[in-house]
């Protein structure tokens, strides 16, 4: 286990391009941190700087309070697992896992102990004699993890390790990695562009965009209290609905509809001088309902609309509709049949609504 501090880290390439800007985070012993963001947002570059594979252009990076900017990767006591989980095809599972230790001239008996231990932990003990081509995708991925585990590093760095697997296996391996983390306890940084992985695995999530950290928080707080429009739109599936409208007399007005804003939500709007101004309302699909009890509870914020598309997921429908000019997605229980063209009444739970400044795109609070 290790603590890590990244202080004002920058990655600036020779051509002046800033891939990572002013990255700051304090990571505790044994934390599972997930960097998430769209392609090209700088998450892998940050991970490679932590590994020492990329130079840090500016800023300071500490592991256990020791400045390691200029420490070589092999002396940082970290292990990496990459997206391409290629294994040495000519080596057995045992040899693949032992290889890194052999390179470090570890004693043979010690290697055997560590490999056997890791293989048991990962459920690979009956496969140690096999060659990679005789393994399934999930088993290969477990061997790739095992290659890192045997080294007993202070820190694990994982760069999209599950992206080569199919959806079902990915779900299974997510659980395996969480289990492994609980067993090993090493501080882990995990890079992904998949927000489901981020939400399900992380102790804390770092959301990045264009090389800039947008928010660092627990999955729940990222979901419930997104700092800005980008985080709000990136995390959550189906994505949050955004509706442009105006604040008027403690109501949110969009087209010819208006919705009462609860006191707790209106106070920051009033304080920020947003009365009479245009803002963006964000509401998650589950914050919109069609059941009688929901409509009754939020009678002040109901509206009539027509279903454009209804997708049945089994227990729920995802319905796509419109509110004024804004397209709207709602998740409603599948008790009643929903179909295209059907007129329905929906209500918005305004207690779950967020308001965002149209210029800064920050959440108003």
């Amino acid at each position: 286990m290790a603590t890590m501090q990244l202080k004002s880290i920058y990655k600036i390439y020779d051509n002046g391009f800033e891939a990572v800007k002013d990255f700051n985070i304090d990571i505790e012993h044994g934390e599972f941190i997930v960097f998430v963001g769209p392609s090209g947002c700088g998450k892998s570059t940050t991970l490679r700087m932590i590994a020492g594979l990329e130079d840090i252009s500016k800023g300071e990076f500490f592991i256990d309070e020791r400045l390691v900017n200029d420490v070589q990767p092999k002396d940082r006591d970290i292990a990496m697992v990459f997206q391409s989980y290629a294994l040495y095809p000519h080596m057995s599972v045992y040899d693949n896992m032992a290889f890194g230790l052999k390179l470090r001239k570890v004693d043979k008996a010690e290697i055997d102990k560590k490999v056997t231990e890791a293989a048991k932990m990962l459920g690979l003990d009956h496969l140690l004699d096999r060659k990679p081509k005789a393994l399934s995708g999930g088993q290969r991925q477990r061997v790739a993890l095992g290659r890192a585990v045997v080294r007993h590093p202070k820190v694990f760095l994982m760069d999209e390790p599950l992206s080569n697997l199919d959806a079902k296996l990915r779900g299974h391996m997510r659980a395996e990695i969480i289990k492994l983390h609980k067993n090993v306890g090493a501080t882990t940084i995990y890079v992904t562009h998949d927000q489901t992985e981020a939400m399900t695995m992380a102790d804390r999530i770092v959301v990045m965009k264009d090389g800039i950290v947008q928010q660092i928080d627990t999955p729940k707080d990222i979901y419930d209290m997104p700092e800005n429009l980008f985080v709000a739109g990136f995390i959550g599936s189906p994505t949050m609905n955004f509706i442009h409208g105006k604040i008027q007399n403690e109501r949110f007005v969009v087209g010819n509809q208006s919705f009462a804003i609860p006191g707790g939500k209106y106070a920051p709007l009033k304080k920020g001088g947003y009365e009479g101004k245009e803002v963006t309302l964000g509401i998650r699909p589950e914050g919109i309902g069609a059941e009688p009890l929901f409509l009754e509870t939020f009678a002040e914020s109901t509206f009539k609309t027509t279903i454009n598309v209804a997708e049945l997921l089994g227990p729920d429908y995802i319905i796509h509709t419109m509110l004024g000019d804004a397209s709207l997605t709602a998740v409603v229980p599948a008790r009643e049949t929903m179909e295209m063209g059907k007129e329905i009444t929906l209500a918005i739970d305004m207690n779950k609504a967020h308001f965002f400044d149209n210029e800064t795109e920050l959440r108003i609070r």
């Binding site: 390439y13 020779d14 490679r48 590994a51 020492g52 594979l53 990329e54 070589q72 990767p73 092999k74 292990a79 990496m80 697992v81 990459f82 997206q83 391409s84 290629a86 294994l87 040495y88 095809p89 000519h90 080596m91 290889f99 890194g100 390179l103 290659r147 890192a148």
Partner: protein, 198 residues
Amino acid sequence: MFLQPIFFVSKHPIEWDECLEVVATYLDGYGIHMHHLTMTTACIELETLIYPSETPDWQAIASMLEQDFMTAMTILIGRPSYELSTWNQQRTVLTLLGSSYQGVISFEQFIVEYVGILTKEQVMDILNPVVEQLTHEEVQTIQAICQANLNLSKAAKRLYIHRNTLNYRLEKLLQITGIDVRTFYGAMALYIVTTLKR
């Protein structure tokens, strides 16, 4: 038999003996000659029949080496050739690459991606050995293929030759230059070469 140089550049000094041994076992079945160049560069030469049907997964090899040797690794895939004179040309490429690239890059890809930031002298240094080998007919063939958006049937029509004749010419071109005009980067690189020839 051709020799294809593959250059390895590590960000930090590593044990090249061990590293190249691992690479060699990965390339089981190929004839290999290994060379150390500096503390951070090494080269292997693959005996090849020019673009065999299955090329090694260099990306996977780079990734494995990075994990096991704990250093960033760049692999430059040189162009196959009968003689070793292309070595100097490709070492120039390596010098120009410096630390600006990480991952796997082919000679053709280098030309396409870096030609805009190199001086004319540097471009000529690298490409002259290729340019000098080309006949007028070969230049016409390359241009016809590029103008036909790599569609060989259309290119053959443009050149008033049979498709098989075109295929024969392309094989010959590949043997002379070590660059396959049927690939995107190969076509782009050879197109740049032909503009220099003009």
